[in-house]
Amino acid sequence: MSQLSTSLSKIFGIIFVRSQDGTRLYSKYYPQLFAKNLLRVPEGVLTNIDVQKQFEHNIWEKGKRVGARLTKGSETEIFQYCQFNIVMKAFNEVHLFVLGDFEENEIILSQVINGIYESLNHITKEHINKKTLLENFDQVIIIIDEICDQGIIITIDPAIIIARATMRDTEAINLDKHETTGSSGGAFSSVFASAKRTFAQQFMGSS
């Protein structure tokens, strides 16, 4: 197995933990693209699942300290733990973290976590919490799989993510009317258009 270049933009992991105790709900790591030494953390080596769980627990603790005031899912906090840049969101009973290495572009990380957030918001009908996430577990894991493959970002546009996760279309669909079959037009394919839409939803829609 040959090693890929370190300067590729990539995600190291996506972690969901329970807010009450920092235990794992669902975690995906993509260590294959990273140098071996990056996998070494104070808790051990991240290929071991027990080490991963302890690592997640410690990230959750540090995250709580750094961003204690995080309340709304639309807000993101950022911090560093070991050799990782980490962005964080807190929902009802769930903390979500997206990890990149120390050099990773922080904006990309925040765009990824926002992509996850907006997609989850869509499938839970704006009620992201531990219960809705577990009830829709099949959709959650497919959404994560549509955002990134082995750490390489596929897309961050929720309209595309949802279209593909629901096997409806390969291109973006209109999320506002998701009951109807999606159009294959690329009107919303731009990330910015989608972000605008989400903001509009937040301001005008249910709070």
Partner: protein, 883 residues
């Protein structure tokens, strides 16, 4: 399944939820949909995969339960995974899209190498499916099940998919290519044309995926990739691809060798990117610019402006990245003047702790000496709100501050004293004590105040471990001169209040005072005799020991401490000539002790050690080149004896490739007015003899003249022979620099036939630095400079260096001198930088150089150089080398 097995599983489940102690938490867990999911029961459910009539929705739910279990760390044994895998292949018979999506995911999660081949045919079928979503997913799943053997069959499908009009399919194929690249890079390298074709794709992610795969394909061919990147700098790219281009440019710029022309193109490109509208691009460009040493502060000003704007953003991530970039920028001290602290100060109070921590550490790095006090007060206000981890971070920066601005010790000590009062971990306070220790050792003026502050601290310190470490510092300091005697009273208080261990330590401190401070003797004897009645044996023994010790008649030759020995050694080295000349008693103890007193804390053992190491290096250097042997040889040689004594020989270096037919190396030997070039020629051919081997030299400097040559008569196959060339340089000059071009001329004798031939070797330089040995033979530059009575030569130049950093490096390289007094470390407070250099000219004349490097607008780098040496001509020459 047996009951026993079932019970075991239940127990192991219970153990795995050990992190939920309270009842409430347990309740929260129990209400979870997947709570208490059992592997055995899910496996049982999965038998329905074999049903002739598949229930799509149910099957999808079972698969997602299985993925949940795998993710929680559940393992399947061989039999379980085999039957499960065959079950999954059965699911392909359903055409339900939702179920199919989950099957793809399951295959990726379920890593069982033994049975992977089973699904390849199913995936291969989906790759050619009419449903684009099937094709995308099959492409992305394929790398998980592929191995070298079946790659070839799928090559055509993958290549076609890359060229597919549909961007998602093309992207899926590119991503698959990236994964396969790790298995078999040679295979993917054949796709270059197809991948390059997608670089200009107008779809958002497609060009990004093509770009990263192309980068991997061209990882062995930097030249081509650099050209591709240059092309891309002219294109309008989607933000993520734009960001990736910048990262690749940064990688290339930071690599060792890059054509200057590209460096310019890329640097200018980066400077343009900071005015883009997307943060993702701006920040990546700023990060790349931070690392570039070739840019002047003026070049970076626009970037700093852009970054500073983000500091007042509402978005925490923008603020964080902006701070991170500034922090990275100022890790290079010459960049510190670019940042004004007023813009960063408000961020100390940010609610995100990692942000405020970054802000503080930047402020402590850039703060002006005049602001230190205010800044420390400001930081202290927020210290209590900070996490322990971060508090220690702050202390680290404070320590660096004490190092860089030693004359600001007053506010620093005040700050540290306050840290003792705030609520914090023991570790934090221990670190405060460590900084005190640092100040006591490194800042002589602050020593007394620092000792007293520490002593005061034990008055109300709660932790006995901390008290003990303070007492051990006081113990050490009490055995030196000028320790404030107020400490005695404070330490004495410990004897009445604390436990035995601390009392014993306190007695130790008092004992040291007793031995070293005769004025306090009466008082101390009284205190210690009280301790002789202490209930603890250790305390009693110690106090008795010190009382007895002080009563013993003081010997004339009290053993000297290491510091005193160092001082004597330093004194002797410094004044060795004076002592030798004078007729006085050699050991004038008073003088030595006065010297030791003066230079307290400045004389360090390390310096002596360093010198020893240096001496050793010189010796080994000489041994390597057989310098002594050469010296003797040349002296006795009839041809070169008129050149005088050999002063210095360079190392041998190659003038040819190791693969050449003739291997040539050269050694430069230096004499007072001559240079001998010793060429060693090796004939590596088996059946060729070289006759009359000589050299034609082209010397590019008028002041260096060819004088004589000793050619080699014959070089047999596989033999080595020497050719010696004598050069003379202008007797008025001490230093000369020139390029030397040499062409080997010889007659080749091959199987009886012979012909003339020549062979040009690589050029080499005789440089100014060849004349000097980088060595520091003294303790302190200033003293040595003043003690040299010869005339000081000086000149001022305007040079092309872009910044101080580069100027220092180039100057050191130019002269080949030793840097003295750490003067290559840039101090930001000074308007100009002073670089101190020393060296020995041809091993017998000491030479010193002072370079003052400054920058002026419009003019650029201005250098004032001063030189002194044992030979005025040499000093003049040194100064003139920069013309």
């Amino acid at each position: 399944m047996s009951t026993l097995q079932y019970v075991k599983e239940i127990i192991s489940k219970q153990i795995s939820t050990y992190q939920n102690p309270s009842g409430e938490d347990k309740k929260a867990l129990e209400s979870e949909p997947y709570h208490n999911l059992q592997k055995s029961s899910v496996l049982l459910e999965s038998r329905c995969f074999n049903d002739p009539q598949l229930q799509d929705k149910k099957c999808r739910q079972i698969l997602s339960k299985l993925i949940y279990l795998i993710n929680q760390g559940e393992k399947f044994n061989d039999q379980e995974s085999l039957s499960l895998f065959f079950g999954i292949t059965k699911l392909f018979s359903s055409n339900n899209v939702d179920l199919r999506r989950m099957i793809y995911l399951m295959i990726k999660e379920f890593k069982d190498e033994n049975s992977m081949y089973v699904v390849i045919s199913c995936l291969a079928k989906d790759i050619t499916s009419k449903n684009d979503l099937f094709r995308i997913n099959a492409l992305r799943t394929l790398p998980y099940v592929l191995d070298q053997s079946n790659l070839v069959q799928l090559d055509r499908y993958l290549k076609n998919a890359i060229l597919e009009k549909s961007q998602p399919i093309s992207s899926a194929a590119l991503i698959a290519g990236l994964q396969i690249f790790r298995i078999s890079s040679d295979f993917i390298r054949k796709w270059t044309n197809e991948v390059a074709d997608r670089l200009n794709s107008k779809y958002p992610q497609n060009s990004f995926h093509a770009l990263i795969l192309l980068h991997e394909i061209k990882s062995n061919d930097k030249v081509t990739f650099t050209k591709i990147l240059t092309g891309l700098t002219k294109e309008t790219l989607v933000p993520i691809a734009n960001m990736q281009v910048i990262r690749f440019i940064r990688e290339i710029l930071n690599s060792d060798e890059l054509d200057q022309q590209y460096e310019k193109v890329f640097t200018e490109y980066l400077l343009r990117q900071i005015h883009k509208s997307q943060e993702i691009v701006i920040f990546e460009a700023c990060k790349a610019l931070c690392d570039l040493k070739c840019l002047s502060n003026k070049d970076l000003q626009p970037m700093v402006q852009v970054v500073t704007l983000f500091l007042s953003s509402n978005n925490v991530i923008n603020k964080f990245v902006a701070l991170k970039i500034l922090n990275r920028l100022i890790s290079n001290p010459i960049r510190r003047s670019l940042i004004s602290s007023s813009q960063i100060e408000p961020l100390i109070q940010d609610s995100n702790k990692s942000l405020s921590s970054l802000a503080v550490s930047i402020l402590l790095k850039v703060c002006q000496e005049t602001n230190i006090e205010r800044l420390l007060n400001q930081i202290f206000e927020y210290l209590n709100d900070m996490s322990d981890e971060f508090k220690i971070d702050v202390l680290r920066s404070v320590k660096a501050l004490a190092k860089n601005s030693p004359n600001k010790w007053k506010p620093i000590i005040h700050f540290l004293q306050q840290t003792f009062k705030c609520e914090a971990s023991q570790e934090f306070k221990k670190y405060s004590i460590e900084i005190f220790e640092f100040i006591i050792h490194e800042i002589p003026e602050a020593r007394e105040t620092a000792i007293l502050a520490l002593a005061d601290y034990i008055e109300d310190c709660q932790h006995s471990a901390l008290q003990l470490s303070v007492l051990s510092i006081l113990n050490r300091e009490a055995s030196k001169k000028q320790c404030p005697t107020r400490v005695i009273r404070i330490v004495n208080n410990r004897l009445h209040l604390e436990d035995a261990e601390i009392r014993a330590a306190a007695v130790g401190v008092l004992g040291k005072f007793l031995l070293h401070y005769p004025n306090e003797k009466v008082n101390l004897l009284e205190l210690l005799s009280a301790s002789a009645q202490d209930p603890d044996e250790e305390v009693r023994n110690r106090s008795k020991f010190y009382v007895n010790e002080s009563a013993a008649p003081k010997e004339e030759n009290t053993p000297l401490s290491i510091e005193e020995l160092d001082a004597i050694e330093a004194y002797l080295q410094q004044n060795i000539q004076e002592i030798q000349q004078s007729n006085e008693e050699i050991l004038q103890l008073e003088k030595i002790m006065a010297y030791a007193e003066q230079n307290k804390g400045k004389i360090k053992k390390t310096e002596v050690l360093q010198e020893l190491v240096e001496e050793e290096l010189i010796q080994t250097h000489e041994a390597e080149s057989g310098f002594e042997t050469y010296k003797k040889l040349f002296k006795e040689s009839t041809i070169f004896c008129d050149y005088g004594v050999l002063r210095k020989s360079s190392k041998a270096f190659n003038l040819t490739d190791s693969k050449c037919e003739y291997l040539v190396t050269v050694v430069k030997h230096f004499f007072d007015n001559h240079i001998i070039l010793e060429y060693k020629v090796k004939n590596t051919l088996d059946n060729v003899t070289l006759n009359d081997v000589s050299l034609e030299l082209t010397i590019k400097n008028q002041n260096l003249q060819f004088e004589r040559i000793v050619p080699a008569k014959q070089i047999q196959p596989q033999c080595v022979s020497n050719i010696l060339v004598g050069l003379q340089f202008n007797p008025n000059l001490r230093l000369v620099q020139s390029n030397i071009q040499s062409i080997l001329t010889f007659t080749v004798n091959e199987n009886g036939t012979s012909y003339q031939d020549e062979y040009q070797t690589e050029d080499f330089m005789i440089t100014y630095s060849d004349f000097f040995l980088p060595i520091q033979w003294f303790k302190k530059f200033q003293n040595e400079w003043e003690s040299l009575k010869q005339q000081e030569m000086s000149a001022t130049y305007q040079l092309d260096y872009k910044n101080t950093d580069i100027a220092i490096k180039e100057l050191v390289k130019h002269f080949g001198f030793q840097v003295c007094d750490n003067s290559d470390q840039i101090q930001i407070q000074n308007k100009f930088h002073t670089l101190l250099l020393s060296g020995k000219y041809l091993d017998n004349k000491n030479a010193l150089v002072i370079c003052q490097i400054g920058f002026q607008q419009n003019i650029g780098c201005v250098l004032k150089i001063k030189s002194k040496s044992e030979d005025d001509n040499l000093s003049t020459n040194i100064v003139e080398t920069l013309v």
